[in-house]
């Protein structure tokens, strides 16, 4: 009896907890959110352990001389513990982070039933009731698989298993291909009227190039799939739709969209989106279906600016190869060689401050880093034709300033082989008309 209580009590308590404190969609204390973060980690233990039980049993059938019973006993006990911890943390995540929705509820209930069936399995195994044991084992395996599958859908989207299924298999199983076309039919209300607004207002951050919060809004399918926090639309009810909540928040709110100081959507745009959601948010609504719907001229909408993310980690990787060479040169010639930005290993070279004190000997020391220099300014330095080979080693150069140098016509003419060069300044350099002609393909050529 005591054993019975000990085994089943936690499972029952867990069920009570989820009944009484059902996640309500509101964000709570950080402790819940913090602990909840461990749910995806712990959750793999019950899955692996429970699935291992039948494997061990089957292995035991073939190796009669091995006694699997004590091992399985331990396995079930650990699985039970893990299957209690996982939903507890999961509840903490859902309660704290404000998760809600049908899929969350289904995942939660499947999850809290696992320890119950696992506990019954332990009791049956202990008391050698082989039929009960077999039944509870099958139930546990099915339950934990189903819970895991739902959890996967929550984390990676509804189609996480079928998204890349080959068509041949898809046909056999009768699974429809998810819609991945970026452009929806402009004759539909969504394609013709909602999508352009989303494209102008949202897609810079929620599109193919940048997927913030795992949410893409560049097609109906993506909009429907939702993002990291689940669905963004509740068909038929705009007021409970996340997208509507976000665009109607006060602009200073952390959750407000469009973020990054971009302007708020206009009242007409919000009304249009709300109307569409209230009408069921499907692809079937025709573009002209709603007579009173606001008409939005997207040509007048503000242009969103893509602000590159600050990526010091990426920059460090990009710089790794030449980091020591760059540092060495920087120590020798302070301020002449700098990184173009904090996001890249590309280099900016400016020797003009040294004027005629910078010549061929000095430039030769820059040889190891030439291939990463994007912009180089030699204005009024004393480099000569002796640096020709080095100059031609600037294989990534975009902007080259050689004005007021002593370079000869022949050397300058050879610069036409620098394929990436877009801007060349050879003011006050003695060059012939023929050379200027040869360099005319350069986008910006500055001569006398």
């Amino acid at each position: 009896m005591k054993y019975l209580i000990l085994t089943l009590l936690p499972a029952v308590l867990l069920i009570c907890l989820t009944l009484i404190f059902a996640p309500d969609g509101n964000i709570k204390n950080d402790w819940f959110r913090f602990l909840g973060g461990f749910h995806p980690l712990i959750t793999h233990f019950p899955i692996a352990l429970i699935l291992f039980i039948p494997i061990l049993e089957i292995a035991g059938l073939f190796k009669a001389n091995i006694n699997t019973k004590p091992v399985i006993d331990i396995l079930i006990k650990v699985a039970l513990l893990a299957s209690i911890a996982a939903p507890l943390l999961g509840w903490s995540l859902a309660w704290g982070d404000g998760f809600s929705g049908d899929m969350v509820t289904a995942h939660m209930w499947a999850g809290v039933l696992v320890p119950l069936s696992c506990g019954l399995m332990l009791l049956a195994h202990k008391s050698n009731q082989m039929f009960m044991y077999f039944i509870t084992m099958v139930v546990s395996v099915l339950l934990v698989s189903w819970t895991g599958f739902l959890g996967g859908q929550l984390a990676h989207g509804k189609t996480h298993l079928t998204a890349h299924m080959p068509d041949s298999l898809r046909n056999v199983l009768g699974i429809e291909k998810p819609i991945v076309v970026a452009l929806d039919d402009p004759n539909t209300f969504f394609g013709g009227r909602i999508a352009p607004v989303l494209a102008a207002r949202c897609v810079t951050c929620h599109g193919p190039d940048k997927i913030k919060g795992k949410l893409r809004l560049d097609s109906f399918a993506f909009l429907n799939a939702g993002g990291a926090n689940g669905a963004v639309i509740t068909p038929g009810n705009s007021t409970t739709s996340e997208i509507h909540r976000r665009i109607t928040l006060p602009t200073f709110h952390d959750d407000f969209m469009p973020a990054e100081g971009n302007p708020a959507m206009s009242a007409e745009e919000i009304e249009l989106i709300a109307l569409w959601i209230d009408q069921g948010a499907t692809l079937d609504i025709a573009a002209e279906a709603m007579a009173g719907a606001p008409v939005i001229d997207i040509s007048g909408l503000p242009l969103e600016v893509i602000i590159p993310d600050y990526d010091p980690v990426g920059a460090e990787t990009d710089r790794a190869e030449l980091a020591s060479a760059v540092a060495e040169i920087q120590a020798k010639f302070p301020y002449i060689l700098n990184y173009v930005s904090r996001n890249t290993g590309d280099l900016d070279f400016n020797a003009t401050m040294m004027r005629d004190k910078f010549g061929d000997t000095e430039f030769a020391l820059f040889k190891p880093v030439l291939s990463r220099i994007i912009r180089a300014d030699f204005t009024a330095t004393s480099i000569t034709d002796a640096s020709e080979e080095l100059l031609l080693g600037l294989t990534k150069i975009d902007n080259l300033r050689l004005n007021e140098t002593q370079l000869s016509d022949q050397t300058v003419a050879k610069l036409s082989s620098l394929k990436t060069l877009r801007s060349l300044n050879i003011r006050n350099v003695n060059v012939s008309a023929a050379t200027k002609n040869k360099l005319a393909t350069i986008e910006k050529l500055y001569t006398n």
Partner: protein
């Protein structure tokens, strides 16, 4: 007791119980901060790349640092027309207003509005000068700027600027520091703090004044605010010696100056070792820069080093301080790697209360003073291939009313306009600004913004973007806030202005 021991003892005495307690709260604060750091490390959304580190060796506080992302503009020349010229008579052509010239202003224009000087019912005032379209872009300009008219296809006009202040000093502060009160860093301070400067023999942020008077916002306009003092703008004089006391006094040779500095630096080093205040090192660095400036600044600020032809193109009269002189100096400075050059030209406060401040009189002279030099500067930069990465800004602090000023409700002898914070035009050229563009619109009277309003902070965010910064990321912690140029309200980078 040696002098040193005595000083040490005095320093200890000065450390009171109150200091100790203050220190304690500081420690508590740092504990709290450490804890706050922990939570944000676990928080889901907040963990991005962390703030950008602007720390430098205190011996070279102006060392160049790379921007956040690849910039379009590497340096800035910002021309501020102090006193607020009427952009209705320069860039913002209002044919409707022309038709209504001389009629009483409708009551709806005046309800709930506050003016500096207008009282009663003023008369509407159409464009005082004829307008014409110029360039391929067909920009409308009045006949007061014949030289700048040749450059309209390189210019990006913002015709829908508005501000929150209708008095000169606070409005100038807002334009230059993002805040209407004194004590905040100017754009140039932020730029040099974020990017340093390329030439270590010159200040990174230089200021030049012309027009006979300083702008009413005063030195606060190029102040470093809460940023370290090395990021303050260095004001040069437009007449006489550009930088005072830069030359060695009589009978002091350069080697002698060097020895003096060396001794001074040794003393400062000792002070630093004792008290550990990084500003001491900064001070040493500043002395050293002044020493290097003796050579370079004198040379770079000397317009006589330019050809006669160039000086003529700018319209420079020898020996006379002027906006033209400052424009040429600005080009010479940015060419030598100065990050940010700020020009102020005073005398645009055209109320019409005197001949000098009349739109039909003094205003003409002001236009003449700036038109040719600005055009020459643009030509010069373009020829040298520098306009591609030098951002040139023409700005002011607010606009002027489409009504003729009637100070105290009486008709005035000269034509003038009152302050209008609700609409004005500014422009940019080069440095990644889109040429031949006119962004935003005022209403038919040029009184309020009709389309695409641009707040000062939006303009600042756009400038920072061109310099390679997300304006949220160029921050400095002060009084518990990560301060930034755009302050606390949301600001937008205006994509339509970017090339």
């Amino acid at each position: 007791m040696t002098l040193e021991e005595e000083l040490k003892r005095e320093a200890l005495k000065a450390h009171t119980r109150r200091d100790f307690l203050t220190g304690c709260t500081g420690a508590l604060g740092s504990l709290f901060m450490a804890n706050a750091g922990m939570t944000s490390a676990f928080g889901a959304e907040r963990i991005q790349a962390g703030p950008i580190n602007f720390a430098r060796d205190p011996r070279s506080p102006l060392a160049p640092l790379p921007p956040q992302f690849a910039p379009k503009a590497k340096r800035v020349i910002f021309m501020h027309m102090a006193g607020a010229p009427s952009t209705l008579d320069l860039f913002d052509y209002k044919p409707e207003l022309e038709k209504l010239n001389g009629l009483d202003t409708p009551a709806s224009f005046l309800e709930g509005k506050k003016f500096a000087f207008i009282r009663g019912v003023p008369k509407l005032l159409g464009p005082v000068y004829p307008f014409k379209q110029y360039g391929e872009s067909g920009a409308w300009l009045s006949d007061r700027l014949p030289h700048i008219s040749d450059h309209v296809d390189d210019i990006c006009f913002i015709k829908s600027m508005r501000t929150e202040q209708f008095n000169h000093a606070p409005a100038q502060l807002l334009m230059q520091t993002g805040e209407t009160r004194a004590g905040f860093p100017s754009i140039g301070s932020w730029a040099t703090y974020g990017l340093g400067t390329e030439n270590q023999n010159l200040p990174g942020f230089m200021v030049m004044l012309s027009g006979g008077s300083s702008p009413s916002g005063g030195t606060q306009l190029w102040n470093n605010g809460f940023l370290p003092s090395v990021y303050q703008g260095v004001n040069t004089r437009s007449e006489g010696e550009p930088v005072l006391y830069l030359n060695n006094p009589e009978n002091v040779s350069r080697p002698m100056r060097r020895r003096m500095l060396d001794s001074l630096n040794r003393l400062n080093q000792e002070t630093h070792q004792e008290y550990g205040n990084p500003e001491t090192i900064t001070r040493i660095a500043q002395y050293e820069m002044a020493y290097r400036m003796q050579m370079e600044a004198t040379d770079v600020l000397d317009n006589m080093k330019e050809s006669e032809k160039t000086r003529e193109a700018y319209g420079i009269e020898p020996g006379k301080g002027s906006f033209a002189n400052n424009c040429l100096r600005a080009r010479r400075l940015v060419e030598r790697g100065v990050r940010y050059v700020q020009l102020y030209h005073w005398g645009w406060d055209t109320h019409g209360d005197s001949k000098a401040s009349a739109i039909n009189e003094g205003f003409k002279d002001r236009c003449k003073e700036v038109d040719q030099p600005i055009a020459a500067l643009l030509t010069d930069l373009k020829q040298r291939g520098m306009l591609d990465d030098t951002l040139v800004v023409w700005s002011t602090e607010f606009g002027r009313t489409p009504m003729q000023e009637n100070r105290g409700g009486r008709e005035m002898a000269f034509i003038g306009r009152d302050h209008n914070p609700n609409a004005f035009t500014i422009w940019m050229a080069g440095g990644g600004a889109k040429g031949g563009v006119s962004y935003g619109e005022t209403d038919e009277m040029g009184y309020e913004i009709a389309k695409n309003p641009v707040e000062v902070r939006d303009f600042h965010a756009t400038m920072m973007h061109l310099l390679g910064f997300d304006h949220h990321k160029l921050t400095y912690p002060f009084q518990g806030l990560d301060n930034k140029l755009t302050r606390v309200r949301p600001a937008r980078v205006i994509g339509e202005l970017l090339a």
